[in-house]
């Protein structure tokens, strides 16, 4: 009788450990995934087939090699045409509901570029996420209101990712475009310069305070299928999670933070393995019994 009661609990516990091991293994491959995503999103040859599809990352569609549409560029385009972007918001909503901001940590080429720049041997500055609301302000003003009123894609005009991926390559590749360079181009280069300097000193500043796509995905973090959870009883508040976090989040305070990009760095670095990946599931009797029993055992 005792074995009959214990066996499902042990099976569930083993399954959880296997899942945890899978996430740890996956976290080691993040850079490979980021490189692959950057290549796929800019694969050039599939442009004819895929350029009408919004990609789950901030990747400028004016880049000569871009194979997909930038969701933020597309939203502005629809706003400028005074049409509701059903298709784009549906894709952004689906990605957000399934994986939250994990796209920022795994697929965004500009996010990866920021991480690379931060590895440069420059003095480092740590800033809190207190002003994270600025990305919502940018989303509302430059992506929605300004294009609606002026019929111009204002965020695209100033976006440092666009300048890097499209503005500079286009000017280099086309002598005709070079003759059209004006003040706006040099303003864009100035913004890119400031952004690059910031990225080498601060961890992912664009993702934390500027990115409107991150702002769209942030509210999905607490309700997405792919979530982080912390066993508060086991956490020793050592701040290791914050030290390794690319966006400086104190995970044990809020595992569902809208700034978290689900890179799983904290999961693999936690010294007491109290951070785990959870998915949205209907609570069952077996699951509750297991979680009630497993905590004291693990302690």
């Amino acid at each position: 009788m005792a074995d009959e009661q214990k066996s499902p609990t042990v099976t569930i516990k083993r399954e959880r450990e296997d899942v945890q091991r899978f996430w740890l293994l996956l976290a080691r491959w993040r850079t490979t995934v980021q490189v692959t995503a950057a290549l796929l999103l800019n694969s050039y040859f599939t442009q004819g087939l895929t350029k009408g599809l919004p990609c789950p990352a901030l990747n400028c569609y004016a880049c000569p090699a871009a194979a997909f549409a930038c969701p933020i560029g597309s939203i502005q385009h629809f706003a400028a045409r005074r049409r509701f972007p059903l298709y784009v918001l549906g894709v952004v909503g689906l990605v957000g509901t399934l994986i939250g901001r994990a796209s920022c940590g795994w697929f965004c080429p500009f996010g990866w570029f920021q991480e690379l720049l931060h590895r440069l041997p420059t003095p480092k500055l740590r800033l809190s996420n207190r002003f994270h609301w600025t990305r919502y302000l940018i989303l509302a003003t430059l992506v929605v209101v300004a294009p609606l009123l002026t019929r111009q894609a204002w965020f695209c005009q100033l976006c440092p990712a666009g300048t890097l991926e499209a503005g500079i390559p286009t000017v280099l590749l086309s002598p005709h475009i070079r003759t059209l360079i004006g003040t706006l181009y040099w303003i864009k280069i100035g913004i890119l310069g400031v952004a690059l300097a910031g990225m080498s000193v601060i961890r992912r500043p664009f993702c934390r305070w500027i990115c409107p796509l991150g702002a769209l995905w942030s509210p999905f973090n607490p309700v997405s299928s792919f979530r982080l959870s912390v066993e508060q009883e086991r956490c020793i508040r050592c701040n290791r999670c914050q030290e390794v976090c690319p966006v400086d989040v104190r995970v044990y305070e809020n595992p569902s933070s809208g700034t978290c990009i689900r890179c799983l760095q904290c999961v693999s670095e936690c010294p007491v393995t109290c951070i785990s990946v959870t998915s949205s599931s209907w609570p069952t009797e077996a699951g509750r019994a297991e979680s009630a029993k497993s905590t004291p055992e693990l302690c």
Partner: protein
């Protein structure tokens, strides 16, 4: 995490998935070719 909170999150998650898929389908019917044509200009 309490049982009710878990259930609430589960229902919100599934509801959002259904809403997003419905929005994509509506967008496919209304916006898709508009977007393809717009992006074709950038090729």
């Amino acid at each position: 995490m309490g049982k009710h909170r878990k259930r609430f999150l589960f229902l919100i998650n599934r509801g959002l998935i259904i809403l997003a898929v419905a929005t994509i389908l509506a967008g496919l019917a209304l916006d898709h070719w508009h977007m393809v044509l717009r992006n074709a200009i950038l090729l």
